[in-house]
């Protein structure tokens, strides 16, 4: 890859694209992968709240799980999950399982 020259770069090392670390996929950091068992999820939001990377995605809609209906569902954005396991550790219903990659 050819990197930009001194005159091509913005002056003063200003980073002009907000939130651009998104280009850096950190999935490769992960040894264990969290898996949400939706049937055990009670939508308490704790995983979403505590994820250091913001990788727990909250979906809105109508979700039927067994005989219960929820207006939210939680999924994991594996692009950025570093596999720390805080979500699994904090889950009160043990709905998140850490499995080897």
């Amino acid at each position: 890859m050819t990197l930009p020259t001194a005159t091509e770069l913005p002056i003063g090392a200003v980073v002009t694209e907000p939130g651009s670390t998104r280009r850096n996929i950190t999935a490769g950091w992960r040894a264990l992968r969290p898996v949400i068992h939706d049937d055990r999820c009670v939508r308490c939001q704790l995983c979403w709240m505590y994820c250091p990377e913001g990788t727990i995605v909250e979906l809105k809609g109508v979700f039927k799980v067994g005989n219960r209906t929820y207006d939210t569902k939680y999924e994991i954005n594996y692009d950025y999950c570093k596999g720390c396991g805080i979500c699994a550790n904090e889950c009160p219903t043990k709905a998140i399982e850490m499995v080897p990659e």
Binding site: L3, L9, I11, G12, A13
Partner: protein, 392 residues
């Protein structure tokens, strides 16, 4: 463009002249911290703000490190900023000097120069400035209150044109506290000379950017090279700004000033008011006594005006460089001497150049001593650094 018609001349110290320039420029944020001999600048600015003559935010910081840090923050936010310091204060700022330049912020700072501790000295020399000379700032050294006033206004224009911070320095006490006539510009005209320009990047939630990131070896060098290019550009732009200022306000100085150099055999190269002024008087004396003497004054010190200095010294038989700072342990202890020696070497010029260290800790600079330098040049032209006026 028209030269101002009605003259408004005030009796001002150079420090007060700085404050008047800041007022004319309509600065937004000023960091205020006392240190001798700088203090009367920020006192006068505080008075202007207290009287409603200057619409600026004063930040009464708790140290010089914070003074420069605060104006870095304000400049990054898009404000026009100013601060001032001397001596130990400039030393305390040192870390942030590099950062301000690396972030390419158009900060203007006044530096009435003063000796460094230890032992403590409140008196003038250029040790403080010379320690800051390679930090990526543009540096002017003025020789009169009028020039210092004009230079601050030019400095804002230059800083905002090339995105570099600028220091305007001059002799501590020998100028900072000396009352002289200063012709003040019409403030409306100054503001026309310095229109508010939208800077490409500022801290603004409407256009978020990140400033001061971490640069890896793949990226860092290019930003440093950008600074090299910017200083080269500043050499050109400083001349243009000075010319335009001359057309508008009737006063310009060039980047290098010469006195009686047309037919001079021997020259003194100097910077600052006392060294230059007394060298001028010495040149007059020398000419009365049959020596074709002249003076070259370096006004723009960084970027170094190599071409102009070499041109000024082109036809002399020998010259002396007088420095009011010591670079300890250096092959030549005078900082300006070393710059000129390097410039000459790079251009294949070889002629006798005497380095003279003088005025350290404001040891009195006499015209007679300056005259002696001309006689030394005539009688024994050589390459050597001498410490004039020290008891050994």
């Amino acid at each position: 463009m028209q030269v101002q018609k009605t003259k408004h001349i005030e009796a001002l110290t150079t420090n007060y002249a700085m404050a008047y320039a800041v007022k004319a420029v309509d600065v937004d944020v000023i960091a205020v911290y006392p240190i001798t001999p700088q203090t009367t600048i920020v006192e006068k600015i505080s008075e202007f703000v207290a009287n409603g003559e200057l619409n600026a935010e004063l930040i009464h910081v708790e140290s010089e490190h914070s003074a420069l840090s605060a104006v870095v923050g304000a400049a990054a936010t898009g404000a026009r900023v100013f601060t001032a310091t001397s001596s130990q204060g400039l030393e305390l700022m040192h870390e942030v000097l590099h950062i301000a330049a690396g972030m390419r912020l158009p900060i203007v700072m006044a530096v009435p120069s003063r000796a460094l501790s230890a032992p403590i000295s409140i008196h003038g020399d250029y040790s403080d400035l010379m320690n800051a000379r390679d930090t990526g700032w543009v540096i002017y050294i003025a020789a009169s209150a009028q020039e210092a006033y004009d230079t601050v206004i030019q400095a804002f224009r230059l800083a905002e044109s090339v995105s570099l911070p600028v220091m305007v320095s001059y002799d501590g006490f020998l100028m900072s506290h000396t009352v002289e006539p200063v012709e003040l510009n019409d403030e409306e005209e100054v503001r026309k000379f310095l229109p508010r320009a939208l800077r490409p990047y500022t801290l603004n939630p409407k256009r978020p950017v990140t400033m001061g990131p971490l640069a890896s070896p793949d990226w860092y060098y290019e930003f440093k090279y950008q600074q090299v290019l910017a200083l080269k550009e500043a050499y050109k732009v400083a001349k243009e700004v000075d010319s335009e200022y001359g057309r508008r306000f009737g006063r310009s100085y060039g980047v290098v000033e010469t006195y009686r150099m047309e037919d001079a055999d021997y020259a003194i190269v100097a910077y600052g008011g006392a060294s230059y002024g007394n060298a001028r008087a010495a040149a007059d004396l020398a000419r009365e006594r049959g020596i074709a003497a002249g003076v070259v004054r370096v006004r723009l010190y960084r970027p170094f005006p190599t071409a102009d200095v070499l041109k000024a010294l082109d036809s002399v038989k020998a010259f002396a460089v007088v420095d009011r700072a010591i670079m300890f342990g250096s092959p030549a202890e005078g900082p300006l001497y070393k710059d000129i020696a390097a410039a000459m070497y790079m251009h294949g010029i070889d002629k006798p150049a005497l380095g003279v260290i003088h005025g350290i800790g404001q040891r009195t600079i006499y015209v007679e001593d300056m005259y002696k330098i001309y006689t030394m040049l005539r009688e024994n032209p050589r390459k050597e650094v001498v410490f004039m006026g020290v008891r050994v």
